[in-house]
């Protein structure tokens, strides 16, 4: 089952396309990292997946075949928007009560247990909690709904490093316990490197990369060699991004076959996730998508 599936999904605000022609098929059971620079369209994509925004073109189905925003979808998907919006004038206990009353399925014991573990007092007004505590409360509310899919929009953006670690540890523990799928967005890749096993790179409203992290990393490598020979290599291999300095060139290539021979005189190194993402972000025409290639830009050796 695909937790989120989109076909030709696009959203236009006025004359700008925030998201254009996105085709995704995210399978269940993964922790999905949605990365890209600010304004890339991450929030727009997430909002359409949870039914907050209507697409301009295309459609998005969730949890197999449910239309996004339908009652069944709302029931099974929990969303935490950017900056974890909560009713600041309510107490934590009231916030729990309210969320319970807005959902069919609710695990009060779990919610209270989590809050106790996190030392978040039940009788304090939400507005008086720290940023990290509010984020944890929002996560608690989402998890207590026992969703199949959890969607988080930049959950770490306003958290300090300790709060960030605690939040991710908490989230991963919930994934271990419940087996739910998670989609989270961030514009800081380092945050997501240790937890993501599925990656989507979004840039300028276009999906550049979509796939399992393991497969993506295995399917790319960095070739280091003489700059003079770089163009040669670029002709023959699918180079995503090239960086040269003096006599040395580093080429991030996409391996066409499983065991691709390294050109003589070149060294091959495996690629890290952040390196991979940065390379694609620097090469707007490149893409690593499952299935047929959607773009074919001829751009000094950068090929899709």
């Amino acid at each position: 089952m695909n937790v989120i599936e989109t076909h030709g999904l696009g959203k236009r605000y006025g004359r700008t396309w925030a998201l254009k022609d996105a085709a995704l098929a995210i399978p269940a059971g993964y922790v999905v990292a949605l990365v890209g620079p600010n304004g890339a369209g991450k929030t727009t994509l997430l909002h359409m997946s949870v039914g907050l925004t209507r697409p301009t073109t295309g459609q998005v189905t969730v949890l197999g075949s449910e239309p996004a925003g339908s009652p069944a979808a709302l029931d099974q998907i929990a969303f935490v928007a950017q900056d974890a919006p909560l009713y600041k004038y309510l107490s934590t206990a009231d916030m729990l009560h309210l969320t319970r009353n807005l959902n069919r399925r609710w695990d009060q014991r779990r919610a209270e247990g989590r809050l106790k573990e996190l030392l978040i007092p039940l009788n304090r007004k939400v507005g008086k909690l720290s940023g990290g505590q509010q984020a944890q409360l929002a996560l608690t509310l989402a998890l207590a709904r026992r969703p199949q899919l959890l969607v988080l929009d930049e959950p770490l953006a306003s958290l300090d490093p300790l709060a960030r670690h605690d939040f991710m540890a908490s989230l991963m523990a919930a994934v271990a316990e419940d087996g739910l799928s998670v989609v989270l967005s961030s514009h800081v890749i380092a945050d997501l490197e240790r937890v993501a096993d599925y990656l989507i790179v979004l840039s300028h409203g276009q999906v550049q990369v979509a796939g399992e992290v393991e497969g993506l990393l295995a399917g790319h490598s960095t070739l280091t060699g003489p700059a003079a020979a770089a163009d040669d290599v670029t002709e023959r291999l699918a180079v995503v991004h090239a960086s040269r300095a003096g006599t040395v060139a580093h080429l991030l290539v996409r391996n066409k076959t499983a065991a691709e021979p390294v050109p003589p005189g070149w060294e091959a190194h495996p690629v890290g996730l952040e390196e991979l993402v940065l390379a694609y972000l620097r090469a707007p025409g490149a893409a690593a998508l499952p299935g047929p290639v959607t773009r074919a830009t001829q751009d000094s050796g950068i090929r899709a």
């Binding site: 540890a169 991963m172 271990a176 240790r194 937890v195 096993d197 390294v262 060294e267 091959a268």
Partner: protein, 174 residues
């Protein structure tokens, strides 16, 4: 790597209440080492077994415990534990956890000493032949790979060590 025999640390934080036996070790990660996370976990367990800190029947931390302290994907832990099972170093018991099993590859201390001596002899010969340290490492790694290839095993984890691998295949870790 922190070893915790678990006999004197009770309490739910260690999971003793959950499974009836406290986990025998706690993991730590080195994010800048270039070694994939799951392999770091595997190595830490292997290391612990090799040095005798982990013994037969000791319980490894549950996926949830590891993930709660390290904030990594649960599948990574599962992969590490599967790898350990594949190597015969651990076995999962449904509903109870993953336990250390057998210690194949544990080499006795006198054998270790003898091997060390042979290695030093080799190093001296290499030095005489004019190889520097990097050259020695490169030669050794290459020979090790050949050895494994002939035995039909998976490539050496050492391939991923921070940029010190030599010209050869460009495989990442499968």
């Amino acid at each position: 790597m922190t070893i915790d025999k678990g006999t004197d640390s009770a309490g739910p934080a260690d999971g003793a209440g959950e499974r009836g036996q406290a986990p025998a070790m706690v993991f730590r990660l080195d994010p800048s080492s270039g070694v994939p996370t799951y392999l770091q976990l595997v190595h830490q367990v292997e290391h612990a077994i090799r040095l005798g800190y982990l013994g037969q029947g000791d319980r490894l931390p549950t996926v949830k415990e590891v993930v709660s302290s390290l904030a990594i994907n649960p599948n990574t832990v599962l992969k590490a534990y599967r790898e350990l099972e594949h190597k015969g170093l651990a076995a999962g018991r449904p509903g109870q956890g993953t336990f250390v099993q057998g210690t194949p590859g544990a080499v006795g201390l006198p054998e270790l000493a003898a091997l060390r001596k042979t290695l030093l002899v080799w190093l001296r010969s290499a030095d005489v032949a004019g190889l520097d340290e990097a050259g020695m490492v490169a030669l050794f790694t290459s020979a090790l790979r050949d050895f494994h290839d002939r035995r039909g095993e998976t490539p050496v984890p050492g391939d991923r060590d921070g940029g010190r691998s030599q010209a050869g295949t460009s495989e990442g870790v499968a």
